[in-house]
């Protein structure tokens, strides 16, 4: 918790323009006003906390539900659905004509396109999944829908201009900045709903550690719990993708890092821990991506993998065995 606060302050403190730490405090507590902090740094830091914790938590939900250490928040086709929505808007805008396209590609239209895309793909996955009994089959169905949407995106890119492609690729890098306070409040509202649903699933998640047959014998309504867990993941991962783009790696890695550090599978410990570590890692990654005092900003997606992947490898090698 203290580490999280420090990272939060450091993240606000560091950036292209150096701002003294005293002014950071002053601005946060309302004694002085700093335009950069109020309109750029603070929203960005809050976004980082929401994205990191949300992706970590939804990754944990999917890994427990699917009993698979390779599962992440996007196994249900959420990110591929969002990509498809955004690709249709950006790459398909040629169809609507030049003048219209510039209006279409505003921040909100991309958010709406991403949400709609992920919602529709998720709906398709859920409809097909409701016909299968086996939870593992849902995993495969999610992957299949992912490759269908990826194929559609490839076809679209083939017919697009270089400019449109670049714009699409930039979205794919992910971005924590550029969120206004009004966007952030919508983001936070949906995020909170996802977290509340997750909290109600803690008992079910622990029961699922025994496997589905045992869980059923303990009086757990498998279908209902599965649905709540999937909805919570969709809300979290869906809004994050809509507002910040497809942030890779965090959702897969944070639960593993947390399990290695805390050495437990009990979700009562794991869930708050994943929440904190997710937020901390995201803040650190974002601070690095800002390249403090320089004018450049690196794509956040590259940083999460560059920093995160070696950490996971190092933890696994150090412990010599995987904890799951």
């Amino acid at each position: 918790m203290i580490v999280l606060m420090l990272c939060f302050l450091a993240n606000i403190n560091l950036g292209s323009v150096a701002i003294p730490i005293s002014e950071v405090f002053g601005s946060l507590f309302g004694t002085s006003e700093n335009y950069i902090i109020q309109h750029f740094r603070l929203p960005k830091a809050i976004t980082a906390v929401l994205v990191g914790s949300g992706l970590g938590v939804s990754g944990l939900l999917m890994q427990t539900l699917f009993r698979n250490p390779l599962a992440g928040p996007f196994v249900l086709g959420i990110s591929s659905g969002a990509s498809l929505g955004v690709a249709l808007i950006i790459l398909g805008s040629g169809v609507f004509g030049g003048a219209l396209s510039s209006i279409l590609i505003s921040k909100w239209s991309i958010v709406i396109a991403a949400s709609l895309g992920s919602f529709l793909v998720l709906l398709a996955v859920l409809t097909v999944s409701s016909k299968v009994r086996d939870t593992m089959a849902i995993l495969i169905i999610g992957l299949m829908f992912g490759s269908i949407t990826a194929a559609v995106v490839s076809v679209l890119s083939y017919f697009s201009s270089a400019e449109q492609l670049q714009q699409y690729i930039f979205w794919g890098f992910g971005s924590l900045g550029n969120l206004s306070w009004s966007e952030l409040s919508v983001f936070f509202g949906i995020y909170l709903l996802g977290i509340v649903l997750t909290t109600f699933s803690i008992k079910a998640l622990n029961t699922l550690l025994l496997g589905e047959n045992y869980a059923k014998s303990l009086g757990l309504n498998i279908k209902q719990s599965r649905l709540i867990i999937i909805i919570a993941t969709s809300l979290l991962a869906g809004t994050i993708t809509a507002f910040a783009g497809p942030i890779a790696f965090i959702g897969l890695a944070i639960p593993h890092i947390t399990r290695q550090l805390f050495n437990t599978s009990n979700h009562k410990t794991l869930l708050p821990a994943v929440f904190l570590i997710g937020a901390i890692v995201m803040l650190i990654c974002d601070s690095i991506a800002q390249l403090p005092t320089s004018d450049y900003t690196l794509p956040i997606n590259a940083i999460t993998s560059l920093i995160g992947a070696p950490v996971v490898v190092w933890l696994l090698v150090r412990q010599r065995k995987m904890v799951f």
């Binding site: 008992k203 496997g211 047959n213 303990l218 009086g219 757990l220």
Partner: protein, 263 residues
């Protein structure tokens, strides 16, 4: 007669088990009528593929019977909600645990799930029941160890303790002695027998350890090719039921010693 009936905890009536698809029905065993008494240890024996697991899956409501009824405490199984059933019957399965990164205590504590609140917090009463289950299965020394550090025999004891913590009238175990050496096979079954004596629970287990089952069980359900017999071990031997358990080309049942012999 009324008095005798009240001790019957699980009763099946003309039960028929098997698998049903849209087009075909494959019956695995039919005409199963058994009455399991309170506080008894009951074995379920039969050759591979005869339908022991199917019977246990049907009794535990994992799959539906083709026909006939199952009554637990004079109430039809289908009338139980899964929450109520969780307080009446607990199970120990052969399947591997998904996560062994829980401590023995945490895993046994999961047996209290039907009783705990929405977030799964343990009350002092819950902890008391868990500690008692740990004591009854002699796990006090290893209760803080992680499950992946345990041997197969220890893990089986932990799973039995978890079922005990669930505090149910009936415990059903599917082949609790597989993967165990001769000593631990006897140990686990002896433990089950002791539990029925001390706790008045009814314990039903399937096993291939017919010798041990004959020595320890109060009654045995024998699944044969064409019918199912349910009686005390002595009566079953007298009536020559075990002689027909397996094809006679390799092993024979010796009625005087109560053991199988290779020809």
């Amino acid at each position: 007669m009324k008095d005798k009936n009240s001790h019957i905890i699980l009763r099946t009536n003309q039960l028929s088990i098997g698998y049903q698809t849209k087009k075909t029905t494959s019956t695995i065993a039919s005409n199963i009528s058994v009455q399991l008494q309170k506080g008894e240890l009951i074995g379920l024996v039969g050759a591979n593929g005869i339908g022991k697991s199917t019977l246990l899956r049907t009794l535990t409501s994992i799959q539906q019977p083709l026909s006939g009824t199952i009554e637990i405490n004079d109430k039809v199984l289908t009338d139980y909600t899964i929450q109520d059933l969780a307080k009446t019957m607990s199970i120990v399965l052969t399947e591997q645990l998904m996560s062994k990164n829980l401590t023995v205590f945490e895993l046994i504590a999961l047996g209290r799930q039907p009783y705990t609140n929405w977030v799964g917090n343990l009350t002092p009463d819950d902890i008391h029941v868990i500690e008692k289950a740990i004591e009854q299965t002699h796990l006090s020394d290893i209760k803080l160890r992680k499950c992946h550090e345990l041997s197969d025999g220890q893990l089986q004891k932990v799973m039995i303790a978890r079922a005990l913590a669930q505090d149910t009238d009936i415990i059903i175990l599917d082949e609790p002695t597989t993967h165990l050496d001769m000593y631990h096979k006897a140990y686990i079954l002896k433990l089950l027998q002791r539990l029925t004596r001390n706790t008045q629970k009814t314990i039903l287990f399937s096993s291939h350890e017919i010798d041990l089952a004959i020595q320890l069980c109060d009654s045995i359900i024998v699944m044969l090719n064409d019918h199912v017999v349910y009686d005390t071990p002595c009566k079953l031997i007298e009536n020559g039921v075990f002689n027909n358990l397996f094809p006679k080309d390799l092993i024979d049942f010796d009625t005087t010693t109560g053991r199988f012999k290779v020809n």
